[in-house]
Amino acid sequence: MEDLIAIKNLTKAYDSRHVAVNDITLTLPRGRIIGLLGPNGSGKTTLIKLINGLLTPDSGSILINGEPVGTKTKAHVAYLPDRTYLAGNRKINECLDFFGDFYADFSREKACEMLSGLKIDPAARMQTLSKGNREKVQLILVMSRNADLYVLDEPIAGVDPAARDYILRTIINNYNPGATVLISTHLIGDIEQVLDEVIFMRYGRLVLYTSVDNIREQHGKSVDAYFREVFAC
């Protein structure tokens, strides 16, 4: 089967001294949960923004389902950014309408079910929710899509451990099994148990792309322990 994502010689520099993504070539298959791991400033968010068309690469290419990043790929990619992108004065109901109108693969029923499970009132405005609940609402919107690729940028950063568990459960229980989930984080210990594969990045370069089982078998360590060894200061 054709790879889901094909990245070739991708480079993005913000200025001459700061190359955020440096000549990355990578192909990602379907049906995997992949951790995009690396210390702060390693280029994870830049790579994710490039996959979502929020940044323009300086050179190289990205193909998703064989298509360059654009209108067609955006219809099949569900993206959770590392910030709140829903306006504070919007009601959750309005956000559900919005997603339903623009994404053909969005299931309002699924979203309402998840909101009701968390006892979040769909009539509430985003700005009245706690930070944790705002992030959960965004995650619910993203995971209620039947996408080919879920790109989640730091989904568990800045929330309490109970919320982290909820977020991870939501990801595992709701993603389309034929799809790939790309999760960026530096909180590896919390996420390790759900990952099939990992990508290590440092200084914008690809350090390693392998399966979690491979790390455990070859190095006899958890991903977290191996990450600490590779990125030891």
Binding site: Y14, D15, K49, N52, G53, L54, L55, T56, T71, K72, K74, A75, V77, Y79, P81, R83, T84, Y85, L86, A87, F98, D101, F102, Y103
Partner: protein, 287 residues
């Protein structure tokens, strides 16, 4: 998808529009109350005294406030639409907008269309406010009621229209062309002005730092180009004219000014739209 974008753009801006129209109604009321002061009533028996002086001062202040707020209404709609464009396109809300399965053209057209409608509506609101203000002023000076003045005006207007319709066969084609040109120029001014503002905001995104400042400087640059463009074209006309100062020259001068204004608006709007499109499709770099 364009229809959906327009629907949401309208939905997300209408509240601000209602606030602006409410403010406009309040401002008009303040402007009209101005003429209740004794200084406007020539036959008022109370022309002296401190209280009269105070009322007159309040009247003058209200009049100035009315003019100030009316100009403010025109500016505030432009500022609101520009800030909203920046917020939804290039700040955190842009993360949602730019990941929707829609084309850049659809995004830009929806914003320009809805923004232009709001500008038209505000222009209409200001126009009606001035009409009401004008009637109240004449009423205060003449002593006639506003309603009888309005009746008289409507009668006069219908007579004028009847006369014009009778004259339509003999009407000079030049007059019709001028009126059409003026209307087209007026109608194009709203979207063209908006596209230039959007273009400047987008040009600011080409810089890695101080993007808002760069957007402001870009607008200054566009304004300078606009001024140079019309000055150069008018200069060419002025220098090339042999009948300087004559009536024909005066007509030709105004006609040229009108055509230049129209060309200038179209050319700059097209260039700024292309800049917006290019930056969003080839140079987008959300922070």
């Amino acid at each position: 998808m364009l229809g959906k974008l327009i629907k949401y753009e309208w939905k997300h801006t209408y509240k601000a529009g209602l606030v602006l129209f409410s403010a406009l109604a309040m401002v008009t009321l303040i402007g009209c109350l101005t003429f209740q002061a004794p200084m406007w009533k020539m036959d008022s028996p109370f022309q002296d005294g401190f209280s009269v002086f105070l009322l007159n001062m309040i009247s003058v202040a209200s009049l100035l406030l009315y003019i100030f707020l009316l100009v403010g209404a025109l500016w505030s709609v432009l500022i609101y639409l520009t800030v909203r464009f920046y917020r939804t396109m290039y700040s955190k809300e842009g993360y949602l907008l730019h990941t929707l399965p829609v084309t850049k053209n659809q995004i830009l057209v929806s914003k320009i269309l809805v923004g232009s409608i709001w500008i038209f509506l505000v222009y209409l609101g200001v126009f009606f406010s001035l009409i009401i203000f004008g009637f109240t002023l004449v009423s205060a000076l003449s002593g006639e009621s506003v309603f009888s003045l309005m009746n008289g005006f409507m009668k006069g207007l219908s007579e004028l229209l009847a006369q014009l319709s009778g004259m339509r066969i003999s009407m000079d084609h030049g007059v019709v062309a001028r009126v059409v040109f003026y209307l087209v120029d007026l109608i194009l001014a709203a979207p063209a002005g908006l596209i230039m503002l959007f273009g400047a905001v987008s040009m600011g995104q080409l810089f890695s730092r101080h993007r808002v400042l760069m957007a402001f400087l870009s607008y200054m640059g566009i304004a300078l180009v606009r001024w140079l463009f019309s000055t150069a074209l008018q200069g060419v006309f002025y220098l090339g004219s042999e009948t300087l100062g004559s009536a024909e020259w005066l007509f030709a001068y105004f006609d040229t000014g009108l055509i230049i204004s129209l060309i200038k608006q179209i050319v700059l709007a097209v260039l700024c739209y292309l800049a917006c499109y290019f930056i969003n499709s080839r140079k987008l770099n959300l922070e």
